[in-house]
Structures are given as structure tokens and as C-alpha cells.
Subunit: 318 residues, 2 copies
């Protein structure tokens, strides 16, 4: 195994940092998670990440690259991360440069949704495709785009924000002043609220905790009409944003991951129907609407694989 | 001049075919227009186009390539055009192959909105940029996208349909079953209808002909509050679709052409304000919102220039 490239993938989440060792797209080892909430400044947190990398390298000598997936905007070429919600002292940190200085390994830093899209493209549902839009549905809605066999990053490396696109120009104002953003309709909390209200309107008492996407899926599978209808309403909204991606980019595949996507056919059924009813032939013929292969491991797989590619390895082979 | 490449650009419109000779992006000669409406079959129309090309080649011996911009979908690699609204017998015509056979010149066939985007990118407002979205506002709303210095064509060469993207998931059903498409709000006819109703609601009698985009611009420039407000409403809708392009693709520039864009500041003022209020810094910093350079000549310039590029000439130099 030592003659094949290993990589370290780091998934920098809101509250914890997960670090894994990748071999041909599989996580073969994972370190203890780092709790980000005990750090108020960047340097000690980066030092702790360096320690964890060191421990994994001792066990796995063949590591050739380190990839980090970050929540929020990353200046891709320099690996500079502007800020982190949960680490107050984190301001304009050149993470790529800092980690390289400490590890002497090639380091790549990328937005987490782009890592997820990259994982699906190179190792998951989108393998072998040239044009795809991948989105991840959870607390928020993230996305990543591949066109002509290349990740779309855009002028300031900020592209792929499907969750911020509008599905209603008169809709409520979102986090960035944008009206009717998809995320404001089908984030976890918004789905829960939608269900809570729908049950209340039907005279059914439910605790908010019983209206989570997971609970709704379980209820819908048992035939609960209100829960089934909630998934149809989620699908309708999701279909609008994804249809827009299709008209603009004419992708071969839409790849849908994240917790909400676990609703399976409850979501994918009405989603497919709505998409097919709103696209002309050139856009819907051969269009694949696929569940993501990866779940929580997408960040580690994507970041590590991308890091190998950036370090000059042919990741389509390994 | 004969040692520099000339090209023929053909703009295949709904009712007429315009043919011009291009030199460094300028139309230096134009042939008599061909009226498509007298043709019921493709072969005699293609024969007539061949004759016109022959006349121009006699006058300009240095022509190296022929480019054709077509209304509707084109299979870009084969230059196959599925159908034409105004030529009944036109079904699955391999126009590239047919014209090459007749002229023995390299021929390129492309969708007209992509030709317009290409003209703006290589010769117009978007010169030197790597990421842009160009749209043309008229009877319909067309678009073309450049990412990482390449035209985005997508899996079936159908990408760039900004006019078909939705700005309201509950909106009226459009030509392809798609709800709330931009084109159904801000096409020429829709703007005219919007104005007609606004005047009527204010108790002002106007003929529909007095509510055309051009008449509205003239009225607004004289201080007509209703006309000014119509342009604000058009801008709000256009801003939503273009904002979505920004969140998805993070372009350097939005280029806006076509008749409706002649409203100038009446449209660009509220459009810019709305876009800036709905995008985060990484998307709006340095974002250029530009009027197109080309008007009716965009099709000829784009088709001819693209044909030169496809024939192996460096169009950034010529």
C-alpha cells in the first residue's frame, strides 16, 4: 500500500474538526475529533490540527497531501479563510500556508460544499461525468458545480451557492438581503416549521421535535398524509432551484445529498416529476437525478482527494 | 488586408437571414437579406445562402470561415439544427455539413444567444474577461455563459437559457411547463402589457402601441412616473434571475443587450441597486454590470468570430 498515495482529509465543521486518512477514496483511519468550541484563537487550533496530522502520519507513512474543507468562503489559490462563526479570533487566516509550514506537505483548502461536490464527482455518484450540480441539504443548503470536467469556482472562488438562489422574487429577505432563497424554504429548521404548522392547521398536536426531517420521513413511510405532502412541498421548491441550474448549465446529473436527502423516494419521486414537467427535451433527456453516495464522510473524502489532485496525482486512477 | 483572416457571419433570424463579412470584429460588407418566409423547405434556402456566400467571396477573396447563428437549439459539434419555426420543412438539418459541402470552407453553427455572448466576450463589453453571463432582452430573453475562459454549452449544448429560469415557483406556466420564467415577465410583450395595465389602473388611456419598451423609455425620460416605475419592476425581476446566476457562477460581469436594454439608466440604475442589495461581498465586489456593445450586429460578429476560432485562428489577436 505504501507505494500508492495516501491523503489526509480534514472536515472543518461548525463545532468539531474531523480528520481521516484516505486510500483510493476510502477512509481507512480517523483521528479523535477536535472540539473547535474550546478555541478562541486560530493559532492553538491550527497547532492542535498539526498534532493530529502528526499522529496519523506516524501510523501511515505514505501520506502525500492534506486537504481541508472549510465552512464558508475560501480564497482557493491562497487557501485564505476569512472568518469562522465559532472561532472568534479567526480572521483572514492563510490556513494553506500555515499548515504547509508545519507539516511540509502540500495543502489544499476549499469550501466544504465544493469538497462534497468533488467527492461525488471523483469517487461517488458523479464518477466519470463532465457536467454536474451537487447539492447538500441540511441546516443550510450548499452546492458545488462541475462544468466541462472542471470545478466551477468563479471570479472570487465563491461559486456554487445553490442555496442562496431565489425561487421567489417577492419572497422573504434572507441572510444576504436576497429574497426567496432556497435555503430559507428547505433548510432543516424551515422544513420542521412547515410541518409543525401543517399539523397544527389540521388540528394535530405535534412537538417541534416530532417534525424534524427524519421524523417526517418515518411518518410519511407509515402513510401519514401530512408528512407526505410536506415532502412534496419541499420537492417543488427544490425542483425550481435545480431546474434553474439545468436551464443555465445543462448538466448530465443533479446529485442530492445531506440529511434531508434521506427522505429518499418521498423527495426524489415528486422532485423528478416536477423537474421533468418543467424542462424541454435537451435538458431532461438523459438527465440523471441521483442521491449522493457519501454522507458525513463527504467532506473528508472530497478534501483529501482534491488535495491529491492539486499535488499532482491522477485521482481518476487512485 | 488579404493576409489577415476574413470571416462570413450569418445571422439566421425568424424572418430573414443577414450575411456579413467580418474583419477584426467589424462588419466591412453586408449582403442583401434573404427572406426566409418564401421558403418551405430547407434545400432551396441553403442553396440561396450558398449563393450569397459566393457573391461575398468574389468581392472578398480572403474569407477563411463561415459562422451561422441559429434561433433555437443547435447540436454544436455536428451543427445539426432540429427545426425552425418559420421554415416548415426544416427538420434535423445538418447545416454545418451541408454548407461545408457547398463552400468547401470550415463552417460553425451555433445558437444565436451564444453567438451574441461570444461577440461580447471576444469583441465587446466582456473583452479580456474569463467569467461572464450575457443576456439579450427582446421578444424573448436569451443568454450565454462563459466560465474559466470557455463557453458553457453543457451536456446537450443547450446551456445558457437565462430566460427560462424561474423567478417565482408559483408563477404562471411557461412554454416548457416551467413556472415563473423570466421571459414570461420581461419579454417585450409582457413589458407592454404591464405598462398598459399600470396606465389603465391610474385612469390613463394608452394604446398598447404607446406602451412598447421604446415608448416607455421616452416617457420615463420625460419624467412619466408610471413609466419609471415599470422599468423598476422590470429591473427587480431581471435582478432576481441575474442574482441567481451570480450565486451559482460568481461571474466578473453581467452583460445586458437587446432592445429592452436601450432603457439605459432607467433599467441599469434599479438593476444595479437590487443586485447589490442581494449579494454578499465575494459576489458583488468588482462585479461589472455592463450594457452590451453590439446591437443587431451581434449575431454576425459572434458567428463569424466563433467560426474563425473553430477554424484554428487566434481571434484574440485578430
Amino acid at each position: 500500500m505504501s507505494d500508492l498515495p495516501l491523503a489526509i482529509g480534514i472536515d472543518f465543521g461548525g463545532t468539531s474538526v474531523k480528520t481521516g486518512v484516505l486510500y483510493r477514496g476510502n477512509i481507512i483511519d480517523e483521528a479523535e475529533r477536535i472540539n473547535t468550541q474550546i478555541y478562541e484563537e486560530a493559532p492553538p487550533l491550527i497547532h492542535r490540527i498539526h498534532e493530529v496530522i502528526g499522529e496519523l502520519r506516524k501510523k501511515h507513512p505514505g501520506i502525500e497531501a492534506v486537504g481541508v474543507g472549510m465552512p464558508g468562503f475560501v480564497d482557493f489559490p491562497t487557501g485564505m479563510v476569512h472568518q469562522l462563526t465559532n472561532v472568534k479570533g479567526w480572521k483572514k487566516i492563510y490556513l494553506k500556508r500555515e499548515l504547509h509550514k508545519l507539516t511540509n506537505l502540500p495543502v489544499t483548502v476549499e469550501n466544504d460544499a465544493n469538497c462534497m461536490a468533488y467527492a461525488e464527482w471523483k469517487r461517488g455518484a458523479g464518477r466519470g461525468l463532465k457536467h454536474l450540480v451537487a447539492i447538500t441539504l441540511g441546516t443550510g443548503v450548499g452546492g458545488g458545480i462541475v462544468i466541462d470536467g472542471r470545478m466551477v469556482r468563479g471570479a472570487n472562488y465563491a461559486a456554487g451557492e445553490v442555496g442562496q438562489t431565489s425561487i421567489d422574487y417577492t419572497g422573504p429577505m434572507g441572510a444576504y438581503g436576497n429574497r426567496g432563497s432556497l435555503e430559507d424554504y428547505i433548510g432543516n429548521q424551515q422544513i420542521t416549521d412547515m410541518a409543525f404548522k401543517a399539523y397544527a392547521a389540521a388540528g394535530i398536536d405535534r412537538l417541534a421535535g416530532e417534525c424534524s426531517p427524519l421524523k417526517l420521513t418515518m411518518a410519511a413511510l407509515k402513510g401519514d398524509e401530512i408528512a407526505i405532502r410536506i415532502w412534496e412541498r419541499v420537492a417543488e421548491k427544490l425542483a425550481t432551484a435545480l431546474m434553474n441550474c439545468c436551464w443555465l448549465l445543462n448538466p448530465e446529473a443533479l446529485i442530492i445529498g445531506g440529511g434531508v436527502a434521506k427522505a429518499g423516494d418521498l423527495l426524489f419521486g415528486p422532485l423528478t416529476k416536477s423537474l421533468h414537467s418543467q424542462l424541454s427535451d435537451a435538458f431532461k433527456d438523459n438527465l440523471k437525478i441521483l442521491p449522493a453516495r457519501f454522507g458525513n464522510e463527504a467532506g473528508i473524502v472530497g478534501a483529501g482527494t482534491l488535495a491529491l489532485e492539486q499535488a499532482g496525482f491522477d485521482v481518476d486512477d487512485h
